[in-house]
Every structure is written in C-alpha cells, then in structure tokens.
Symmetry: C3
Subunit: 258 residues, 3 copies
C-alpha cells in the first residue's frame, strides 16, 4: 500500500499516480492533496494525526517549498512504515509517533538519503524523484531500504518539533498549531487540562468560554473549548468557526486560565 | 466494497480510511467528502442521488452535527446494501430508494442500533465508531448484520422526508432543496411538469424563463429551467449560476407558473 | 485500469463511479474532478500533461459544456490507451501525445463515434453515455474498440491545437494557457528560451524579472520566470501567485524580451 499526501491541489497529483502505477500494483490511497500549502509545520501536524491510523504502508509526502534547491530527499523507516519526502521536517513528527507505536526505544526511526540525479524537472520532485523512490521502497520492502541504489543512511536531517506549552496552576500558555476546515483552532495544549472543567467555563485570552465535551454541548453559534480527535485543546464554535470567533490564526499564542 | 461520504473536507477522511484498511481488504471508494457541511437534508438528497448507482456495498456516511451527543449510531440494511452512519435522518431517503429498487414492499428497509461504548473521542465518531462498524458489517456480510455484537434491531429512528410540492393546473409551488457546485438550484418539483413546455417559457417566481432540455439550449449567461440528472426541475444559467440569477438559496420557496 | 477526469466538482463523479463499478472490476483512478470548469482548452492542457504518465488505461474524460446537444460522443485510441469523452477537442492534444509516445507516424490516433440513443438524461452524459462506453471499451480491450456495438470509425472530429508562440531573436510572444492552483501562469512559450538566461533577468511585458530554475531561487514574494514541470515557461512568485503579480489570466498575451 502506498499513501499519497501533498499540498498540490489538482491536477498535479495525477502525474504522481501515473508514475506510481507504472511501477507497482500496490494499492494507492489518497490521504489529502490540500494540506496547508507550503506550510511544513501544519502539514507535519496533520500527517502525525492521520498516518498512524493506517496499516503498514509506504507514505509518499510532498509538501516541499524548497523543491529544486539542494535540500535532500529522504526515506524514513519507522516501525513497519516508510515515509518518502523532502528533508524539511515534514516527515519527522509522524515518524516519531510511528516509531513509538512500534515500541522502538525513544521513538527511534531511521533516516536515509536518496540520491537525486539530474531530475526531469527542477519544479516537480513529487513526480520525478519522490514517486519513483516510493515505488522502489514499496517493491523492495520496508526492511530492504538500505539495499536500494542511491540510498544512504544519514545521521543529520531537518528536525521539527511542535512548540511545548507552558502549563501552570492557574493558566496554560500555548499556541494555535493549525486551523482545520471547520474553523476549529487546534492548539498545542493537552486536552487533559480541561479535566474537571467540563460544564464550567475557562478563560480563553481572558474571555469566559464554556468547556464542553462535544460541539453540540453549546447552542449553535456559541463558543466553546473542547478536546479534538487529536487529543489537544480546540477553540471552536458549534456549527461555526472558532478561529474567527476567538480571532486567532495558526502560529498565534493563546492563554487559557481558570 | 465500502464507500465513504462525509462533510469532513480534508484531511480527516484519511483517518477513517486508515481504520478501514486496518480491518478489511475491501475496495474503498470515495463518494464525496464535501457534502453540504452539517446540512443533513442536503446531504441526504445527494446520497439518494448517487448511491443507488453503485453495486451492492457498505456505505459509510458521516454528516453528523450531533457527534458526541446521545444520538444513536445506525446500520441500515436496504436490499443488498448497508448504510452506516448517525441517526439524524441522513441515511433514510437513500435507504428508501435502495429498498424500493430491490423490490421490497413499500420501500421497506431495516434499521439497527450500534452500541457506542466509551469512544476514543467525543468528536470523531467517523473514525472511532462508524468506520469500525462499517468494517464489521462488511466482514460479516450484509445478511449477517443482526449477528454482530452490539447490534440491535430498532423500530424508531429519525425519519427524513423531502417536502412535497403543491402541483396545480396553472402553477407548481416547491422549494429549492440544494444548490450544486455549478450553481444549479435543484428543486423538489418533478421534471414532468415541464413536459410540453420545452421550447416555450414558464414563469419562475413571476419572471419568464425559457424551458429547455439542455443548458446549451440557451445562450451563455441566459437563464433556463430544465430537468437535472436527478429528474427534478433545476433553475440554471448556461455557463453561469442559476442560484444567483434567480436569487434563491437552499430551503427557499419557488413557484413555477404558466 | 480506468481513470476519471471531469469538471464536475462533487458529488456527481460518484454516480459515474457507481456505473463503472457495476460493469467492471477495473481499478479506478481519479485524475481530477476540478478541471477548469467548462474550459475545454485548459482541460485539454492538463490532460495532455498528466495522462501520458499513466500506464495503458481507459481514460474517461467529461468536460462537456455542450452536453445534451448533438455533439458526438467519442472513443479515441492512441497507442495502448483509449480516451472516452465528448467531441469538443478536449481529447485531442493528449491523444496526439500518447500516439507520438507510442511511435505512431505523425502522432496518428484513431477516432470512433459512439452512438447515443435516447439517454436516461439530457444533462449527465458522464453517467449515462460516457461511463457505460468506458466500461465497454475496458471490457472488450483497447484493441477491440471497432467491434463494439454502436461504435463507428470517423474521419472528422473537433480538433484542438494550442496557439503557437512567435519566437524572435530578442523576444518571444506567447499566451497564458492556464493558471494552476498555485497561481503559476503557464504559457505556450517553450522552456528552451530561458536557456542561458538563468541567473539573469528577462523582461515580462516590459518588467524586468529574474530567470530562475526553482521557485526558491528568489526570495519569498518575488517574481520569477521559470520552466514548469510541463516544460513551458511559467510566470511565478516564490510562495505567491504569479498570475496576480503579473496581472494576467488564461488566454491573455504575454511577451518576453531580453
């Protein structure tokens, strides 16, 4: 199985599918092709949320604002999964999660460099570099990555870690990591800080806001704080947009206090 | 075969796909993930239009504004098809059509409640409740739904029927059910009221409008009434948007007279 | 393998998938369903770019502003590929490319008319005419198109050729063919005119613009001319939109000079 994720929109992913289908009979599964465009951190967040639900697979990931520069092309092995994509950090958070889930000590994963020689284009490595690499990894098997031509283990790569929140007795300082398509502003605050506060209110940047387990726990149009499916605190509005109600965007600080 | 339909946009459907693929080798087919958001009636309309074209399948449907409340999770058996989704009416019109197509008396279908115990999240039942239920139904077979753990036949469920138009000698009063992506305003008026009126005009809310069998039957930018692929009257503009030309939205009344 | 491409958006393609799946076990691959709406030339451009990457397949293409008129329905055989869609030119550029790639003299391809008898609808030939035709071609095999009922070889069809640029010693006059989702304005100018000019500047409609091999070769927000993955000159902005920066739309003239 090969999954595909990109920020390409349409129709560029079809060329990648064609390349994959010329090289393999693997099942192809679209993850998303509208990942936040050229936003490596937000894309890394989403991949960490969704890819661990898959059975072992080769995951082709192309969110690559540095395409055509000398940034490396990587294969990452994490448990029984392989990730193929650019060396810009987008593969790292999900690799750490997959490796942890596999029982690897400290969430260890292995990183390999893929030689890029004179590609057919300087602007579409998804088609010309990463898709062929995904085919090669799939056909050889995740256990045999190091035996592939042009593939070399490396120790250094662009790391990416989400910012850590500051959790205190009376408040928690965090950041909005991404806003989803519903307008839910997803923070880096752990959902556990809402334990014991459901049914009451907490202050979001000073404004009293109801804590609820479900969006429908407040009337339509009313703000709430809840825990999203990812386990983090979300700023939301029942049947509305939390981001505009609270006035926050991805990357902005947010304080919860009580 | 398992089909997937939701109003999730992206990338949440990928987590559902991962859960499905961990549990089954079934073919997965995306129906749509941009069904009208949290609009149960409009989603029910589209599902009734597109799912009956499929061969027998398990259809996973998640348009679920009440997620996390005590609304039930359902499996509906209709002919050789099964539908899995929330008890808010979204499954009902298509179930009725599928059952009728199968020859069941009166379009009868069977409804089963799926026990929901302590889900992994309160906000993403598509991943945590409905996808596992779809896997269970697929693997057991549509004929064996009642043998599944936690599945109970029920007599009561949220029904959903589209409003009936009022058809008279000189006019027809209906309602816009949905607006499609082209801007065609799809009504609940049966296409048969245009029989004998193609080539002439009818009044739409009083404004003379050409009746045509095809969009290209009028010049670009010109309004028409036609019959869409669903068999209902559409208010359209050749290469333009019917909804803005007529000034209607889903849920609004419309009168045709002649 | 059957690929699907359309300008339908959602959820209409699902009805086509249902029809296909009732008739064949073929693998289905979505190419795109948001091809430029009712823009036959732009859709033809994208299909020419992406379909040749696929292994031999039946390609179902529905960009069909003339649906329901008497425009013909076609099957085109080009090398080991077949294309199924309306006779409006949308199939022609990719057919020429596929035939050339197969070694056919002069890029020759074969065109067949598909009889359309009393369709189920006048507005959705994708579902009622083209999808059944794609099933028939797939099941019979691309070599056996002429043996299908209702299929007749034809000599005349709507041709479509992209405009030729005028290339001089000191300038090149071309046209924007399409704008992609990133805002890159893709011209009909061959990428070779930038050879020897990377690192310097060329004038785009008189405005000095840096020539670069990669988007990241200029600072974010800065304009550049580059060669896209299709081999043509693109007007782009690193992490921005080239179309709005240059002030051009599809169909407009553009002059590069040096």
């Amino acid at each position: 199985m090969i999954t595909l994720a990109s920020d390409f929109g349409s129709p560029y992913p079809a060329a990648m599918k064609g390349v994959l289908l010329r090289g393999t009979d693997a099942r192809l599964v679209d993850v998303a092709h509208d990942l936040p465009r050229q936003d490596v951190r937000a894309a890394a967040f989403w991949l960490r949320e969704v890819l661990p639900w898959f059975p072992p697979a080769v995951h082709l990931v192309v969110v690559d604002p540095g395409v055509g520069t000398d940034r490396a092309a990587l294969v990452v092995r994490a448990g029984e999964h392989a990730l193929v994509g650019p060396d810009n950090g987008v593969l790292v958070p999900v690799a750490r999660n997959l490796a942890e889930a596999s029982g690897a000590a400290g969430g260890a994963f292995e990183v390999f460099d893929v030689a890029v020689d004179d590609p057919a284009s300087h602007t579409f490595h998804g088609r010309d570099v990463f898709a062929p690499a995904a085919v090669a990894v799939h056909e050889a098997g995740v256990d045999a990555v190091e035996e592939l031509d042009g593939v070399t283990p490396v120790d250094t790569f662009v790391d990416l870690r989400f910012p850590e929140p500051e959790l205190g007795e009376e408040r928690a300082d965090g950041e909005v990591l991404v806003v989803d398509g519903f307008g839910n502003a997803i923070t880096n605050l752990p959902g556990s800080i809402l334990d014991g506060r459901y049914g009451g209110t907490v202050a979001v940047d000073g404004a009293p806001t109801m804590g609820r387990r479900t969006y429908a726990g407040v009337d339509p149009g009313v703000r709430l704080v809840t825990v999203g499916s990812h386990g983090n605190v979300e700023l939301a509005v029942n049947r509305g947009r939390g981001d505009s109600a609270v006035g926050v965007e991805a990357g902005e600080a947010v304080r919860l206090s009580w």
